[in-house]
Symmetry: C2
Subunit: 427 residues, 2 copies
């Protein structure tokens, strides 16, 4: 049963959702700082010690050799590998269109301005271990990096208690074009990527989800290397009209709610009749879900419904929330899309449930959470490139325009800046 | 006199340069946290109190009315305003080419994938006050935001002791298309932009340079709003061949050194003869500079020269340093540019001193410092947009491919994700 709130309360709702984001505790920061320092100083010796301590296994060498990758990958379910292969093709199809090119402008005789688009040299992808394993994340992180032109795509993941690599993760890494794999997790893994060890060369950027220790470590090494966003609790907002199928709406809300008790599922609709039927479906569908307990907690905590007078009013709520996932379960979704200003990824029509995008459709599932869709974007090819500008003035050009530069530098009291032009001017 | 080091010591040099970046002290963090909390809670009342305390003036209203902007701007030197007008045209010319467009792909019947490019709703630009004033920064921050399509471009700057706005800053803001100006600075100004007050509506992103309190405040509000990079000490690396004019080389190194004692100027050359002459020029030119003391400190601390056997070897040093500014004072600079992998902005040929780009040429002067050019880019139109993806599967498409999604969701133990597809499949 979704808690119903007034459409005018949407600001309070955003604040309520924001309250989910926890600060990282000082205790965690201190512990992680200690780990980072140890790895920076002792390198592989520290990695071995922490892996023994946290993952319960003593690994003499945590580099995964090609043979081991192939052996693990061969154990993955062939039907699953085939599904991943199709997903990979779709992800490539969507992300290939994100490739950017540099430009060179000749403004006037002797004046050139340009911008180059360059791939990062190397990227590290963190892949969580433990009971949960998310091969889809490997595809979503590694494929855009490869399309961007990144040469070294390094994956790290905690070893199992037996010291092995999960077959699905191995299969995904092979498909996605990961070039190196290491069995190391936690803050020590992030430290290895950021500072380098005898075994791992340091990388330029670290991406991928992880637990609170991983998140803290990423925050702390940020600046030394780049990182992707630190993901907050996941959220979906479904806009549904009177014709939407309540069973579909309920199923999609539940797919978000099963992530964790902090995940939020919000329905915004023009039809109170639909809301009534969705509530019935939620009860019915929840009853048979394996993750029933998590779902019930999540709905109780954050499950919300808002009835609005018009679809445009529904979109205004979505814009105020800036949800990670937005479904437009309406008759004319493309039309409504033009009113959406803030959303990580949008799923159009009655048949595009969020899971299509989570796994298969080709858009990226690494998305801005906690309202950050107001100012940030999905992971993509952009995340693995940088732009470098250039400028050329000929001797004639500096003679012609140098006075302006001297004037501006002097107004800012930067005489050596002005002087760099002056020495080049013919008296 | 530049300290000469061996080409093989370039890694040590990068580490040495990195050691300049100071961590923000706990004391500053605590003070700034207090200010942020106060502004969040008391809004304008806190702003008034802190402005009185830190800027020494009691402002009843810190919004700057149009009349005041016009009056201040009218006092700027007309020649300077004309130089800014030309600079503005050049900045627009370069940044217009950065505009990006969305795309929509029809992958197969009933399957659409797309990406929209959307401007941020609002941006706040911090403009430092005090004795130093940098109108060029106003242009460099505001113009790309306007080209991106940002509707609200808010500028904040500390009031002078008389409560006035600097004429040059007012003139730059008018030219650049700033839409709102407030006389508030420091951490309290950043808090106003991030949380909003009765006077200022909150913004989505905060850009612009500031002192340590401003930098700490930006770091602390990051996540709630977006920020640009926290700039570290500035750096230039000049690659010069035997034909480079030593007076030009020296002048360009000095233009960097005058910024502050932490700024670094590095010469990498194939000619020891040139290095000798540059050292002579440095002495000569430094002697007459108003900022002589700063320049001497900076050169003593970080001024460095490296002699290499070839221009390609020089570029490899540059790639290892990833300098903010890179000058290629060589005969064939465009050719050498292709070997550059990591540099914020590159200045080509004997006549393009860095100041051309700092003020006038059109490329942006807000650049990645401290080696972050390995993974980040200049400020630009990209900094003020976000991308939102969308996906549509028809009923037929979900029937055709749904099985794959179910399979992948089940492998990840996310049954509600699988169920969202199942409910849509015809049995």
């Amino acid at each position: 049963m979704l808690r119903q709130i007034d459409p005018n309360d949407h600001e309070k709702l955003r604040e309520y959702l924001d309250s989910r984001s926890e600060d990282i505790s000082t205790e965690v920061i201190l512990k992680v700082t200690e780990i980072l320092h140890a790895v920076k100083k002792e390198k592989d010796a520290a990695i071995r010690r922490y892996t023994k301590q946290f993952d319960g296994i003593d690994l003499e060498d945590y580099r995964v050799r090609e043979e081991e990758i192939n052996e693990a990958a061969a154990q993955a379910d062939p039907k699953f590998v085939e599904s991943m292969r199709q997903a990979k093709a779709n992800i490539e199809y969507f992300h290939n269109a994100q490739k950017q090119h540099g430009y060179l402008l000749e403004k006037a005789k002797g004046i050139y301005l340009g911008q180059r688009v360059l791939p990062l040299d190397s990227v590290g992808i963190y892949v969580p271990g433990g009971r949960a394993q998310y091969p889809s994340s490997v595809l979503m992180n590694a494929i855009p990096a490869r399309i961007a032109g990144v040469k070294r795509i390094v994956m790290i993941t905690p070893p199992s208690k037996m010291g092995t690599l999960h077959p699905n993760i191995a299969a995904a890494a092979k498909l996605a074009g990961v070039t190196e794999i290491y069995k190391v997790g936690g803050a020590q893994g992030i430290a290895a990527l950021a500072y380098g060890t005898e075994t791992i060369a340091k990388v330029d950027k670290i991406v991928g989800p992880g637990n609170i220790f991983v998140a803290a470590a990423k925050k702390l090494v940020y600046g030394k290397v780049d990182i992707d966003m630190i993901a907050g609790p996941s959220e979906i907002l479904v806009i549904a009209d009177a014709d939407a199928n309540p069973a579909y709406v309920a199923a999609d809300l539940l797919s978000q709610a099963e992530h964790d008790p902090m995940a939020s599922a919000i329905l915004v609709t023009t039809s109170s009749k639909l809301l009534e039927n969705v509530n019935k479906e939620l009860v019915k569908q929840t009853a048979v879900l394996p993750k029933r307990e998590i779902v019930e907690q999540s709905l109780k905590n954050y499950g919300t419904a808002i009835c609005c007078a018009s679809l445009s009013a529904c979109v205004e709520i979505a814009n105020a929330i800036a949800p990670e996932h937005l479904e437009l379960m309406v008759k004319q979704p493309m039309q409504l899309l033009h009113e959406v200003r803030h959303a990580g990824s949008v799923f159009l029509g009655y048949y595009t449930c969020e899971s299509v995008g989570d796994y298969y459709g080709g858009t990226n599932h690494v998305l801005p959470t906690s309202g950050t869709a107001r100012f940030s974007s999905a992971l993509g090819v952009d995340s693995f490139i940088k732009k470098s500008s250039y400028l050329q003035y000929s001797e004639e050009a500096i003679q012609a325009y140098g006075d302006n530069i001297i004037c501006m530098a002097q107004q800012e009291d930067l005489d050596a800046h002005a002087n760099a032009v002056k020495v080049r001017l013919k008296k």
